[in-house]
Symmetry: C3
Subunit: 205 residues, 3 copies
């Protein structure tokens, strides 16, 4: 690894690490929200705060892109990665909101498998962020996120097939299907982040 | 602002202004379509014409990209912006079609809030297009579209929660949910346009 | 057309041709899956194999991008095209899975129109791949895929309106709507491929 004399760059990496850390928090709150004994109003409030904190990190990155002359990689890639991370948070926040607003009668336990996958994606993304600096181990991260996303896809199809089995009323199916799709969308959003990091790695290699 | 001696560039800006102006027309027709006393067949016909006119502007931009040697910004960005504007029109056209074909029994008044947001997005986009030339005030436009999109998101969740409240029959919920999602998708499509303009501004700055 | 002395490039074109050929296979299996007398378990198994074969081609492309010094066009465009082709396969595989898992009572014949469009998109994409080398006739391909995608959009709206007509029970509507949307998504995914090829053509021209 070559020496770096441009200290201004550091904070991009720090911001991205913060951004990924917000996702770890968000995924944790999502897990709380779906547990049986959750005080849903309270968890939703904490999720809102976490989402605002994530927004601020995103804005800090965008502001820095606009005011920095030398950036560690292409401006548009920094921008795309920052929005990608922000999108994950927005989608997890949406799931929390849906659980609060739709008041589903029961939450099928398979939804928790999806939340567990989300937590693993978040942990993995947070662990990987410091590697952006050295561009090491990014390929392994990308492969693992893709593996988790494939697992999420398979879970999702089973969840939906189960919702259609006749066990639930049509209106409950509509609610739970929306929630299941937002969970799957959140996992997909992690894959989009991984794809953008892979694209940066391909460009910079 | 520096002097420009390349008159050929003008028409890109003119085309983009036309393209945004079609969206103002489209959003207006959408508002008509959702009003109680609308002659839906007639409005849908005018929407189809507006959509064709928008297509022609998009094709004119693509043709010009392919035949012009010096473009005011990167070819792929011109192309992405043109398709982004075209996508908004397609999605608003889709909403009009859905209202015509699905024949929903009632249209919840909250849907009109979404159409109002769409009209504000369209007006703002049309007002901003001439600023592409000087790259002025694009940051404010981007922030405001993001604000409108967030408002649209919140409206959307309330609309869906209301559809799930038990007041509507399952089949009506399915129809209205589709229409509500297409409205929200149209607002998102305006945000995509704003993001592409922001990316151009970041690149060119 | 200029002479090419870089034989290493050939295999990118070969890989892309293979990738498109997998889509021809996939679209054919989809047509089988939706026919009345299908042995759905058996067809789904063959689809799974076809999807794995497509995955391997995609991985071969990504590996080659990372290990080749001179690529025939930009690395990120090769990567985007490869993922675009892979996405089509994933979506067609998803449709097959849905038909297997949801066990819909009847499949409306209009769904077969969508599969026919998919087969035409796949054939056209496979025929076009060899033209990537000379960059000939790509405009015509793009226009034709767009035409097919517009036809698919119109079919889709009629299919959904028909599902909402009152003829089907809510739960059947949910199943068939999901299947119809995945079919339309597959056609859209072909359009995304065409758009990426068009972008490469614009860049390289």
């Amino acid at each position: 690894m070559r020496l770096r004399f441009r200290p201004v760059e550091s904070s991009f990496y720090d911001h991205f690490s913060d951004s990924a850390q917000h996702l770890v928090t968000g995924a944790g709150l999502l897990a709380e929200m779906l547990s049986d004994e959750a005080d849903r109003e309270a968890v939703a409030l904490r999720m809102r705060e976490a989402e605002h904190a994530a927004d601020e990190t995103t804005h800090a990155i965008v502001k820095q892109v606009n005011s920095t002359f030398v950036t560690p990689f292409d401006r548009e890639d920094i921008y795309a990665l920052a929005s990608g991370l922000d999108d994950v948070m927005d989608m997890m926040d949406e799931v929390v909101d849906m659980v609060l607003l739709y008041e589903p009668k029961v939450l099928p336990p398979e939804l928790l498998d999806q939340v567990e996958l989300l937590q693993r994606c978040a942990d993995l993304t947070a662990t990987t962020m410091p590697n952006l600096r050295s561009m090491q181990s990014l390929g392994e991260y990308w492969i693992e996120i893709n593996r988790l996303e494939n697992a999420g896809d398979r879970n999702h199809r089973r969840i939906i097939a189960n919702l259609f089995s006749g066990e639930f009323k049509a209106m409950e199916v509509l609610k739970l299907k929306d929630i299941a799709e937002a969970l799957e969308g959140s996992i997909d959003a992690f894959e989009t982040v991984a794809n953008r990091i892979e694209q940066i790695a391909v460009k910079e290699s």
